[in-house]
C-alpha cells in the first residue's frame, strides 16, 4: 500500500480561510477530531492573509475589516484541531482521503467527512497584452501588501471591475502609493444596481455605504477615475509601457510601469472537479461552480464544499457556510440535533446571497473581457494558447471541450486549467453556438498541484522496506 502513515480523523478540512477555520471551530466544539491542511504559512486564507503578523504599522491602511480576522484566527488556533500549515493537497480520492506534500515528504489524511474550503481565484482578464511582464492581478498587489507591506514601484494603474479593485486602490493610496488611474469597466452608477433591487439594498445597507465611502475616499486622494472603460489594451514590446482604452468621454493612453487587472473572483474548481463533483454554469454570474446542497454537500458522498469555493459570497458568508457544513457533519457523525442552528445559518446565508446578487450585477465583467475578441490574445498562459488557436480547433471537428484541450494543450500546463478553464469553456461555447453547459468544463486529472518526483519515489522506497 502507498498510503502508509495515513492519519485518520472525523473531519478533514482543506483550506484555512474563514470557511475552513469556522468549520474546524464548530467541529471541535462538538468534540470531533479534525485536521486542517493549508498551503500558506499561517491561517487566514487570502482575505486574512498574514493577519497575525502583518508588517503594516498603521492599521488604517488595510482597514478594520481585515483585522476582524484576528479573533477568528485566535479561536482557530485555540480550537484543538490539528493544523498542518505549508501543506499542498494534491489529490483527493473517493474514500475521503487526501494526499499532500509538506516539508519535502508526502502525507495522507483520511476523514469520515471531508470539507473543501479552497476559496476563490481571480478571474483572468484576458485583454490584449495581459501576459506582458509588468501586468499583474490586483490580487497579487494585495498579497504583496499584506504579506510584505510592499507597494508597486513606478507608475501604475488598476483596471477592471469589482470591489477588490477599489479597496486595493484605496489601501495603496493610504500607504502613499497613489495609482496613476483607476480604469473601471461597467457603468459609473453602481448604486443603480442596488436601488433597482430594494431588498438587496436594505439587506446590504452596511456594505453599500462601505462601497460609497471607498469611492469618496478615492476622490479625496484625487485618483483619476475613468468609467465605462472598454477596449483596454496593455501595450509594450517585451514589457508593459502603456495602456490604452476608451471611456465615456473619449480615448486615453497612459504611460505605465505596472498595470493591475481584476474582474472579480470565481470558485476554485480543481479539487472538486478532480473527483468529478458535478459543476454547474451560472449564466447570471458568468462562472462555473460546484453543485452543492443546502449545507454544502457535493454530489460525492461525504464531500462538502464551502465558502467562496462553492459560491462567491465573501468572507462573512464563508464563515457561516463553513459552520453550517460542520453542523451537518456533527449531526451525521454523532446524531446530535443541530437543526435549529443550521436553520439560523441558512437564513444568514440567504441574506448574504441577496446582497451579493446586486453586487454581482453591479460588477459583472463585460463579455469582451471574458473571451478575447482578438485571435492573437493568449487564453492559456501556461501553454501560450491563443484565442485563435482555440477557435480553429473548435472548428476542426472537436465535439467538446476535452478534445479542444487535447488539440491545443490549453489547460495542460502547471496550473491545470485553474486560470483558463472558464475562458476556454466560454470561448468554445461562443465559437460553436452552444451554451457553456452543453460545452462543459475540462476534465481535471490528479495531481491538482505538481508533486516532486523525488517525493513519490521515496514513498515507494518506504513501502518496499
Amino acid at each position: 500500500m502507498y498510503d502508509q502513515g495515513t492519519e485518520e480523523f472525523d473531519l478533514v478540512i482543506v483550506g484555512a480561510g474563514p470557511a475552513g477555520m469556522s468549520a474546524a471551530i464548530a467541529a471541535r466544539a462538538a468534540g470531533l477530531s479534525c485536521v486542517v491542511l493549508d498551503e500558506q504559512a499561517a491561517p487566514g486564507g487570502q482575505i486574512y492573509r498574514n493577519v497575525e503578523s502583518n508588517w503594516m504599522g498603521d492599521r488604517s491602511i488595510l482597514g478594520q475589516e481585515y483585522y476582524t480576522g484576528e479573533s477568528l484566527v485566535q479561536d482557530f488556533r485555540a480550537c484543538g484541531a490539528t493544523y498542518l500549515e505549508g501543506a499542498t493537497v494534491w489529490e483527493l480520492t473517493g474514500d475521503l482521503r487526501v494526499a499532500y506534500s509538506r516539508n519535502d515528504a508526502i502525507g495522507f489524511a483520511k476523514g469520515r467527512a471531508l470539507v473543501v474550503a479552497t476559496g476563490a481565484l481571480e478571474r483572468p482578464m484576458t485583454i490584449p497584452g495581459w501576459t506582458l511582464p509588468g501586468v499583474m492581478s490586483v490580487g497579487s498587489a494585495q498579497i504583496m501588501l499584506k504579506s510584505e507591506a510592499a507597494v508597486p514601484e513606478g507608475r501604475f494603474a488598476l483596471a477592471g471591475t469589482g470591489p477588490l479593485l477599489l479597496l486595493t486602490a484605496l489601501q495603496l493610496c493610504r500607504t502613499g502609493a497613489k495609482p496613476a488611474a483607476i480604469i473601471e469597466t461597467g457603468s459609473q452608477n453602481k448604486t443603480g444596481a442596488f436601488l433597482s433591487d430594494p431588498l438587496a439594498s436594505a439587506f446590504g445597507w452596511q456594505n453599500l455605504t462601505k462601497g460609497l465611502s471607498w469611492m469618496r475616499a478615492l476622490r479625496r486622494h484625487k485618483v483619476p477615475h475613468f468609467h465605462s472603460a472598454s477596449d483596454i489594451i496593455a501595450q509594450g514590446d517585451d514589457r508593459l509601457t502603456s495602456v490604452s482604452f476608451r471611456h465615456r468621454h473619449g480615448t486615453e493612453q497612459l504611460k505605465l510601469d505596472r498595470l493591475f487587472l481584476h474582474q472579480g473572483v470565481v470558485p476554485h474548481l480543481n479539487l472538486p472537479a478532480s473527483i468529478e463533483c458535478g459543476l454547474e454554469w451560472s449564466d447570471e454570474k458568468r462562472l462555473w461552480r460546484p453543485r452543492t446542497g443546502p449545507e454544502g454537500q457535493s454530489d460525492r458522498e461525504g464531500v462538502f464544499i464551502v465558502g467562496d469555493g462553492a459560491e462567491v459570497l465573501g468572507a462573512e458568508a464563508a464563515r457561516i457556510s463553513g459552520r453550517l457544513a460542520a453542523l451537518e457533519i456533527i449531526h451525521q457523525l454523532t446524531g446530535q440535533d443541530t437543526a435549529r442552528e443550521r436553520q439560523v445559518c441558512r437564513r444568514q446565508l440567504d441574506t448574504e446571497r441577496r446582497f451579493r446578487r446586486a453586487l454581482d450585477r453591479a460588477y459583472l465583467p463585460p463579455r469582451d473581457h471574458l473571451v478575447p475578441v482578438s485571435d492573437d490574445t493568449i487564453v492559456c498562459r501556461c501553454e501560450a494558447v491563443t484565442a485563435g488557436d482555440l477557435r480553429q480547433a473548435a472548428h476542426q471537428g472537436c465535439p467538446g471541450i476535452n478534445q479542444v484541450k487535447f488539440f491545443t494543450r490549453a489547460g495542460m500546463g502547471p496550473c491545470q486549467a485553474r486560470s483558463c478553464g472558464t475562458s476556454v469553456s466560454l470561448l468554445m461555447a461562443q465559437a460553436t453556438g452552444r451554451s457553456p453547459t452543453e460545452v462543459g468544463y475540462m476534465s481535471i486529472r490528479p495531481p491538482v498541484k505538481p508533486v516532486p518526483l523525488q517525493q513519490l519515489a521515496s514513498l515507494a522506497e518506504e513501502a518496499s522496506r
Binding site: Y2, G397, P399, G400, P414, P446, A460, A463
Partner: protein, 375 residues
C-alpha cells in the same frame, strides 16, 4: 452540428474518430473515395488521447513475425505520412526516428531482454529488422543522462516518436480539407445490412453507406455483435505520468521515460486487466516513478504535472484485427493497440487493401477468424 435527423449518405462510413479511424478515412479520401467519419462525443474513451506518441518497432511481434514486419513496414512509411500531412494541413506532427532504448536495470532483466531480441532477429533480420543489445557505456554515448543502475538496453534504429496530439488534429484537419465529412455526437448503436448497402443507427439519425469500416476501438466489440459476430476485444488499462517541461533533449527515445518535443517526460505505462475505471493510483505511480528515477536520476528535481489512464484496445494474442467480419459483406474492422505506430500503414496502405485495390496479403495473418480456432 446537424440535428435534423436526415440520413447521411456516403460510399464508405468509418466508425471511430480516433487516430486509427481517422487515418483510414484520410487514406480513403486520398484514394478519392467519398467518406463520412463518425465520431463519438467529447467523453469517448479515446485511446488516441492517452498514449505516449511512440512509433515503436523493437517490442512488437515477439512470436508473431508478421506483426514485427507490419510494424517495421509502418515505421518506414512514417516519413512520407508525416510529410503528406504537413502538405495537406500545414501541421507538423513532429515525427522523428531517433532510435529507441528499452532499459534493463539488472542482469536478469538484461538476459531476458537479450533472449527476446535474439528471437525477433532470428525471425525477421532478413526483412531488415535491426535490434541489438548495448551496454552501459554505449547507452551513455546515446543518452548522457542515463543512470548508473542501467546495466544494458535493447536498441533499435527504427524506433521513433510523433506528437500524438498534433497527429489526431492533423488527421481531422486533413479529412476536412480533402472533402470528407466528420460527424460527431451519439455513438453508432447498430449496423444493419440493407440490400446492397448498410444503415448505421444512432439515436439521432441514420447513416447509409455501401461499405462500413469499424475502427471504434473498444466500442468495436458491441458493434460487431449487431451483425452477429463475436470479437474478443477487451479494454486493458494503462496509467502514465507526465512531468513538467524539463531542459535538454533526448538523442534517442527511451521507452517509459520519453521526453516529448515540448520537454515533458512521459513515464511508466501500466498493464491492468479488468480495471473498473480510469482512475490513477499511487500503488502504480510511486514505484513507477522510483524506477524512472533509476533510469534518469536527473528527473528527481522535476515535478509530476498530471497522471492519466486510458484503455488499450486488446485482443487475446495482442495483435490487430483487420478485414471483413462474419458473413456481412462490406463490413470490415480495423482495431489495434498501437494506433500511432501503425497510423502510417493505416493511412497509406490499408485503405487500398480494404477497398480491393491492393493485395490482402499484408493483413491475412490478422483476420478475425483466427480467434474461432482458439475458442
Amino acid at each position: 452540428m446537424r440535428r435534423d435527423g436526415n440520413p447521411i449518405t456516403a460510399d464508405i462510413a468509418v466508425i471511430g474518430g480516433g487516430v486509427t479511424g481517422a487515418a483510414i478515412a484520410y487514406g480513403l479520401l486520398r484514394r478519392s473515395r467519398q467518406v463520412v467519419l463518425l465520431d463519438e462525443g467529447d467523453m469517448a474513451l479515446r485511446a488516441s488521447r492517452g498514449n505516449g506518441g511512440l512509433v515503436w518497432v523493437q517490442n512488437k511481434g515477439l512470436r508473431c513475425p508478421a506483426y514485427t514486419r507490419l510494424s517495421l513496414r509502418s515505421s518506414l512509411l512514417w516519413d512520407r505520412f508525416s510529410e503528406d500531412l504537413k502538405q495537406d494541413t500545414g501541421i507538423d506532427v513532429a515525427y522523428e526516428r531517433r532510435g529507441g532504448l528499452q532499459c534493463c536495470l539488472s542482469t536478469s532483466e538484461a538476459e531476458t531482454r537479450a533472449g527476446q531480441v535474439r528471437e525477433m532477429m532470428a525471425a525477421c533480420s532478413g526483412d531488415g529488422l535491426d535490434i541489438r543489445m548495448i551496454d552501459h557505456d554505449e547507452i551513455k554515448a546515446l543518452e548522457p543522462r542515463i543512470g548508473a543502475d542501467v546495466v544494458a538496453a535493447s536498441y533499435s534504429p527504427h524506433d521513433g516518436a510523433a506528437d500524438p496530439i498534433k497527429l489526431l488534429r492533423a488527421l481531422h484537419a486533413a479529412i476536412l480539407t480533402r472533402g470528407g465529412q466528420i460527424v460527431s455526437g451519439p455513438s453508432v448503436e447498430a449496423i444493419e445490412c440493407n440490400g446492397d448497402g448498410h444503415v448505421l443507427r444512432r439515436n439521432d439519425r441514420c447513416v447509409e453507406a455501401g461499405q462500413v469500416i469499424v475502427a471504434a476501438g473498444n466500442g468495436t466489440r458491441a458493434l460487431a455483435e449487431t451483425v452477429g459476430v463475436h470479437l474478443p476485444i477487451r479494454p486493458q488499462k494503462g496509467q502514465a505520468i507526465i512531468t513538467e517541461r524539463f531542459e535538454g533533449h533526448q538523442k534517442v527515445f527511451v521507452i517509459k521515460a520519453r521526453q516529448t518535443n515540448y520537454g515533458h517526460f512521459i513515464l511508466g505505462s501500466s498493464i491492468e486487466e479488468d480495471a473498473p475505471d480510469l482512475g490513477t493510483d499511487l500503488g502504480y505511480i510511486a514505484p513507477s516513478v522510483a524506477r524512472s528515477l533509476r533510469i534518469l536520476p536527473i528527473l528527481r528535481h522535476a515535478r509530476v504535472l498530471r497522471t492519466w489512464a486510458a484503455y488499450r484496445v486488446m485482443t487475446p494474442d495482442s495483435f490487430p484485427i483487420y478485414g471483413q467480419i462474419g458473413d456481412a459483406e462490406g463490413v470490415q474492422v480495423a482495431i489495434c493497440h498501437s494506433g500511432i505506430t501503425l497510423a502510417a500503414f493505416h493511412a497509406l496502405e490499408l485503405p487500398g487493401i480494404l477497398t480491393g485495390a491492393a493485395s490482402v496479403d499484408p493483413i491475412t495473418p490478422f483476420a478475425a477468424t483466427r480467434f474461432k480456432e482458439a475458442a
